[in-house]
């Protein structure tokens, strides 16, 4: 972490998560973190490093290996006035807690008609490109974005991590906070000092363009930006939108962009069928079909259960800036 000015600090995404959690723990003693290896180990990515010394084991809970109850107990804490931040060590391990997320957390407010609420954050690292094989590399957002009562955030830049995590912690409803593990140390950026929030549901236009709108999030938004910047040399003007929030999703920014560029390419790592891109495509088809000069295109992960461990299997699963650039070229030329 290097301070570049008095107003901001350069951090990677791990440091941004850690610093934000640290501030939340410091400022509000209702806040506590619970999960596997968050204590003495300080989380497997060292996100809660030294928290246990600073805040004590009562607020930094090394749970037994039991994901359903990690979320379920956090739900009960939230119902009784605490602000728990539950961690699922890898998104691949979230399935045992599906009932507590979908069946319970997302319905507490609704089923009690507002008498009980569930202000809960569930953080989890997701995504591949790290040789994580079948059980340390999946994307889980599409499994959850169908669920009313739940909010989902997937920031890509350290400054967004901070602002959105603060917003998630402040939020009175359950938020699933997805952190792409490949971006953890890869992505660095300036993070404003002091407390701030970024509202959930606001996309960010990373680069203006005239000929094509690219919507992405997570690791791939960095690669999409790299590809789009490269295409400037070829005289192509591509707009890149970082969704940041998956539920709610920013309709205005997407429509405004598509109505300007008249072409839409959606890029995500999660597989295509029933993915986030399907919902965006349907929305644009419903709201802006006659603005389009080309069919909507989705560049997504293949429809296989997960990426394999062997390098060729992972590389085949993952896209690349070059592949993204090629898709953009074809769209611009269409």
């Amino acid at each position: 972490m290097a301070v570049v000015s008095s107003n901001s600090t350069v951090m990677n995404n791990v440091e941004a998560v850690r610093a934000t959690l640290y501030e939340a723990m410091k400022n509000d003693d209702r806040t506590l973190v619970l999960g596997e290896d968050v204590g003495a180990r300080g989380n497997v990515f060292l996100i809660t490093k030294d928290f246990i010394t600073e805040f004590g084991p009562e607020r930094v809970i090394d749970t037994p290996i039991a994901e359903a109850s990690i979320v379920g107990i956090a739900v009960g804490m939230a119902m009784e006035g605490l602000r728990p931040i539950a961690e699922i060590q890898f998104a691949d391990f979230i399935y045992p807690s599906f009932n507590q997320i979908v069946g319970e957390a997302a319905k507490i407010r609704y089923r009690s008609n507002g008498e009980y609420t569930c202000p809960l954050v569930i953080r989890t690292p997701y995504g591949g490109g790290v040789r994580g094989a079948l059980s340390h590399s999946v994307s889980v957002e599409a499994l959850f974005y169908h669920v009313p009562g739940l909010k989902i955030v997937a920031p890509s830049f350290p400054a967004d991590v901070k602002g959105l995590l603060n917003a998630a912690i402040d939020d009175p409803d359950p938020v699933l906070f997805l952190e792409h593990k490949k971006t953890y140390r890869l992505i660095k950026g300036e993070v404003p000092n002091g407390h701030y929030t970024i509202p959930l549901g606001k996309a960010n236009v990373l680069k203006d363009g005239k000929q094509l709108s690219v919507v992405s999030y997570g690791l791939y938004v960095h690669w999409a930006l790299e590809a789009a910047l490269g295409l400037e040399q070829e005289g192509m003007s591509v707009e890149v939108i970082d969704l940041r929030s998956i539920r709610p999703m920013d309709k205005t920014t997407i429509l405004r962009s598509v109505e300007k560029t008249r072409k839409l390419l959606i890029i995500h790592e999660d597989n295509k069928f029933g993915g986030i891109g399907a919902e965006i495509s349907a929305m644009v088809a419903e709201e802006a079909l006659f603005h389009l000069d080309a069919p909507i295109r989705r560049l997504c992960g293949p429809d296989v259960p997960a990426m394999g461990y062997a390098l060729p299997l992972e590389e085949e699963f993952m896209s690349s800036p070059a592949e993204m650039a090629e898709a953009m070229r074809e769209m611009v030329k269409f």
Binding site: P64, M77, M79, L82, R247
Partner: protein
Amino acid sequence: MAVERTESKAGSAFERHGLSDEQLVAMFRTMLMQRMLENRGFQLNRQGKIPFASASEGHEGVQAGAAMAFERGKDILAPYYRDLGLELGIGLTPYEVLLSLFARAADHSAGRQFPHHYASRRLGLHTISSVIAAQVPHAVGAAYALQYRRERGRAVLTTFGDGATSEGEWHESVNFAAVHKLPIVFLCENNEWAISTPLSKQMAQPDVYKRAVGYGLPGAVVDGMDAIACYAAAREALERARSGGGPTLVEAKCYRFLSHTTDDDDRTYRSREEVAERRKDDPVPRLERLLLEHSILTAQDVEALKRSILEEINDATDRAEAMAYPAAGDLYERVYVEGWQPWLE
């Protein structure tokens, strides 16, 4: 703790565990109210006025006893859907119950939930779903909050049937509570039937409390047909929890006299003889006999009590029925803290 029986023998003393006459009568009233309210639910269902009802006949003793050990305004209850007596015992009114049965707008969940899925912040009564054991981790989280805030003198009571003990979330929750010595009581209302699944297909040995030793917390078993013994067992466990002594697993052996719900026919999976045999141990007449034999109530008192309860239920039924359903537009409300749609404009 051994199974304790509060015997009713003419002339002999009985162990009242410090309960006053008024408290004994209050427990009895809750038990009668529970039975008569459930009867009303079944009537309304047969009349075609409500689509669904379920009952807890056979659970009156354990629920009235446990409710008497619950400290209103302090303790928290995370029940399951067969806990009408517990809910009445901690302060839910017959009118609130009827609002739930009729799914009226004035119901706590505004008619969203199935009957008997109550929630009341005022009473410390957690909202529950129909998913078995899903409330148990919430109860543990609540107990963690109490311990974390050093709210000594408060505890969480969570209840479930025998079937729930087979759920992974039950196991994870009991284990976590034991590790952190939380102020919580796990009360199993073992009625031997999970819809159609008998206890012998639910677990290989029939005593839920015996699992306690594997988690490192005290286990206790009590005759669930004996309201006074259940009070004593629940009080001892709740007192331990409130005073920082950690969690307890209490098992009350009772029986489900009726079908699972109005949508179930228990004749398809168990014999009339079995049910008739267990009826002999019915907790309601059992406590009634005790109260009569010890002159805590007279036969006339009991009759008067039943009349007053029926009047209260009739009144609650009429009032609730007269209330409006929620407006259709309410379907969209309180999904999140404010009006909110997945697409943000």
